[in-house]
Symmetry: C2
C-alpha cells in the first residue's frame, strides 16, 4: 500500500508555517510498512484541493488529509473531497446533537456556524474527535482509502490513531524494522566511502545517510512480508557491519543528540565540565545547557572573545598569545587548562578559531579551529579546517569539541579506571 | 502566474528532514505577486517524480523543483522531468569541462560519476552553480516554465536568484510591495490585539503576524495591477499606522535580526559589550557572535552556570546569592556589573533564570528570568516569566536581554549624548 499525505491550510504556503502532521502520520504508517510517496501542502482553495485529491486517489491506495474541517467558510476539505470523489455531502443530525452537547458541557451555546461540521461525505464513517469539534471522516472510493483528519496536531493524533487501528493497519502488508546511528568527528563523504561497499549490496534494508553541521546520521530500514523478526534480522545484519566500520565515530544509536550523550556520560562518572570559548562565542555552552539537568555536571566557563578577555579574565599568558596567536594549539591548551582551574572542574574544554567570513589569512584560513580538552593526567588537542558559513563553522566546532569529551570518557571506561576530581585513578569496582 | 513547488528527496519523506527551499522560493515569488498554490515533497523515485511533474505542468504556469541534481544514481530529477515533458536528455561536453576545471582548482580529479551532471534536458538553459557541482536548468514546455534547482540551500539560492531575475520576474503580472516589522519585548496575541482594528480593514495589503521565540514579525504585502508606486502607496499607508501603534517594540524593518541591529548600534556608538550568563548557558553570546564582525564590540564574558562559578570566577558576593538566591534581581544586577568590570566593557548584560523543565518552585516558577544591563550612569533590570520549552525560554531570555541593550542605545541617542567608556556624556557633534 502506498500513501499520499495532503496538508490543507494557506498558512503553510504563505507564512512558512511548517506542517508537522505529515511527519507523524508517515512515521506511523511506516511502522506498518506503508510508505508515503508524497506530501502535499495546499491552501484553502476549492479548485486546487479537489484537483490534487482527485489525482492522489488515482495514484495511491491511501490518501490522508489534515486540516480544513473547522466550522468557518475557509474550511472546505469536506466539500473538496466530495467533489473529487463525485460524492454528495449529507447532513447528519446526530453530529449536531453531539456538538450541542459538547458546547453545553462547556457552559456555552453552540454557534450556528458549527452546524457545517455535521456535513458528511456520503457513505463515510464518522470518526469521533475527543478533543475538538471537528470529527474525522473515513471513506473508500475506487480502491482508495481516504482519511480526513482535523488540523491541530492534538486533535489529529487521536482521530488518526482510531482510524489507523480500525481501517489501515489491518490492510498493511509489510513488517518494518529501523535502526539509526549518529556519528560525529567525520564528514559525510568520508562516512559514505567507508561503508558504501557494504550497504550498496543491500536493497533491503534501505540505507540513508544524512548530514547536518557536525553530525552524520545513518538510517537503516528493513522490511519483510513475513514477520517483524525477519525485518529485524535483515536490519541487524547490515547494522552490525556498519557499526564495525564506523564504531569510532558513533556516539549514539537512536534519537539522542551529542550533548545529551556527553551529559549522561559525565553524570555516570560524576565528572564536571567547564568551557573556554572564543570563536563559538557561547555556542558550546548553549549546546551543553540545551540538555535538561546539565547543571549537575556543567559548571560554566568563560567566553573569551576578545584577546583582552583571554589574557585578562581568563588568564591566558600574554606570551602565549603573542608568540602563537589567539588561534593556536598553545592558546587552546592554555584556555582549557585555565577554565578547568578557574571553575574547579574535572574537565576543561576550549575552542578557538576563525569563524569568518573575515579574519582569515593564508597561514590561518577561515575555518581553522583548535579544540582542546584538559583533565587530570590527560591533554588532548585537535586542529580542524571546517568549511561552511560562520554559523556552520561555529556549530561544527562545538560538536567536535564535545566529541573530545566523549572520546576521553570512553577511554576512561576502556581503561577500566575511574577518574576522580583530584586526578587519582581508582579501579571501578562498584556494581552500578 | 501560479506556481507549484516540488522538493525532491526521500529524506524529507522518510526522515522528517524539513524542506526549507520551498519557503525561500515562495517568499521570493510572492514579492513579484506570484502565488504558490502547492508544495510537494516527493522521494527519489522515477515514476512518482515524473508523474507529479507532468500533473503540475498541466496545472501551473511555473513549476520549481529542488534536489536530485547530484552525480549519484539517486539523483533522477533531470531524467524524470525530461520524461514528464517528453524531451530528450543531451550530453553537454562544456559542462564536463567546467566540472573538471572545478575539481582541478581544488587539487582533485573529477570522479567519473560527475559526468552525469552534464546531461541536460533538450532546449534547456544551463544555470551556473557558483557553489557546487550541480548546475540548474530552466526550460519551457506547453506554456509552463520549469526550473530545476540544486537541493542544498546554499547552492539553490544563487541559482534560483539568477533564474528569477532572467526568466521569472520579467513575466510576473502583479506589482508588489512588502514591508516587514520585527518586534521584540511583546507577545504575539498582545501585538495582534494592538493593531487588529487597523489591519482588518484592509484586504490589500495582506497582513500576516508570525511568532518565533522572542521575536514577532509583521508582514504587510500590498499589490497592484498598475504600478510599483501604487503597491507601495497602499503598503506604506497601512505600515505607517502599524508602526505608530507598535513603535516601542519594533527593532528592525526588513531582514535584520536583533543581534545584527544591536551590534550595528554598538559599532556606531563605539561601545563594547560583555555578558554574564546563567540560564542561557552561552546562548546569549552565541546570538551576539552569530553576527560577522561582532568581535569589534563584543568582548566576551562569563558563563556562570553553577553558583560556584557565579561566586568564584565571576565574583558575585556570597551574601547576595544567599540572601536573594541565584535567580533574583540582585544577583542579575551584580552579574552584569561584575561582567562589565572584569571584561573592561562599556556595557554589562546578564541573564539568570530557570529554564526548566525541573528546578521551579511556587515562588520561582520555571520560566522566571531576570535580565540586567549595567553601564556608566545606567542600570536597568527586567523580570519576565516566559512560557515554553527549555529551548524557547533560553531563546526568549537572550532576545529580551539584547533588547535591553537596544533600548539603552536608543535612549542614549534620544538624549543626544554620546556615552563614552569612562561614563562621561558629551554632546554628539560629530558629522559621522
Amino acid at each position: 500500500m502506498r500513501a499520499i499525505f495532503i496538508a490543507v491550510g494557506s498558512e503553510m504556503l504563505d507564512l512558512d508555517r511548517v506542517d508537522t502532521n505529515s511527519g507523524y502520520v508517515a512515521r506511523r504508517l511506516r511502522q506498518k510498512g506503508i510508505l508515503t510517496d508524497m506530501k502535499v501542502v495546499v491552501g484553502d482553495h476549492m479548485d486546487n484541493l479537489s484537483w490534487i485529491v482527485k489525482k492522489a486517489c488515482q495514484r495511491a491506495q491511501l490518501v490522508v488529509l489534515s486540516g480544513g474541517l473547522g466550522p468557518t467558510e475557509d474550511d472546505i476539505t469536506r466539500e473538496a473531497v466530495a467533489t473529487a470523489l463525485k460524492k454528495e455531502l449529507v447532513f447528519r443530525e446526530e453530529i449536531v446533537a453531539g456538538l450541542r452537547e459538547l458546547f453545553r458541557s462547556r457552559g456555552q451555546a453552540m454557534p450556528e456556524i458549527n452546524a457545517r461540521q455535521a456535513f458528511v461525505i456520503e457513505g463515510a464513517e464518522v470518526l469521533a474527535n475527543p478533543v475538538g469539534t471537528a470529527p474525522g471522516l473515513y471513506c473508500e472510493a475506487g480502491g482508495c482509502k481516504v482519511l480526513l483528519l482535523p488540523g491541530p496536531p492534538n486533535e489529529m493524533q487521536p482521530v488518526f490513531e482510531a482510524a489507523f487501528e480500525k481501517f489501515i493497519a489491518p490492510a498493511a502488508n509489510y513488517h518494518i524494522y529501523s535502526r539509526t546511528f549518529k556519528l560525529t568527528g567525520i564528514g559525510e563523504s568520508d562516512a559514505d566511502s567507508r561503508i558504501a561497499d557494504i550497504y550498496r549490496k543491500y536493497r533491503n534494508p534501505v540505507t540513508t545517510i544524512l548530514a547536518s553541521p557536525g553530525i552524520i546520521e545513518i538510517h537503516l530500514l528493513g522490511r519483510s512480508k513475513d514477520s517483524d523478526e525477519e525485518a529485524r534480522r535483515l536490519t541487524d545484519e547490515l547494522a552490525g557491519k556498519v557499526r564495525e566500520r564506523l564504531k569510532d565515530f558513533i556516539f549514539a544509536e537512536g534519537d539522542a543528540g551529542l550533548p545529551e550523550v556527553v551529559i549522561a556520560m559525565l553524570k555516570e562518572r560524576g565528572l564536571t565540565l567547564a568551557v573556554a570559548e572564543s570563536c563559538t562565542g557561547g555556542g558550546l555552552g548553549d549546546q551543553v545547557t540545551s540538555v535538561p539537568g546539565s547543571s549537575e555536571v556543567f559548571l560554566g566557563g568563560v567566553i573569551a572573545y576578545a584577546n583582552s578577555v583571554k589574557n585578562g579574565l581568563l588568564g591566558v599568558r600574554e606570551e602565549t598569545l603573542k608568540r602563537h596567536g589567539a588561534v593556536s594549539e598553545a592558546t587552546a591548551a592554555e584556555m582549557a587548562a585555565v577554565a578547568r582551574r578557574l571553575c574547579g572542574a574535572d574537565i576543561g574544554l576550549s575552542v578557538t578559531g576563525i569563524a569568518g567570513p573575515e579574519g582569515g589569512s593564508d597561514k590561518k584560513p577561515v575555518g581553522l579551529v583548535y579544540m582542546h580538552l584538559s583533565a587530570a593526567n590527560h591533554e588532548r588537542g585537535m586542529r580542524q579546517i571546517f568549511s561552511g558559513s560562520r554559523e556552520v563553522i561555529k556549530r561544527r566546532s562545538a560538536f567536535y569539541a564535545l566529541n573530545l569529551v566523549r572520546e576521553y570518557l570512553n577511554q576512561l571506561a576502556a581503561d577500566g579506571g575511574r577518574q576522580t576530581a583530584d586526578g587519582k585513578k581508582q579501579a571501578d569496582i562498584s556494581d552500578k
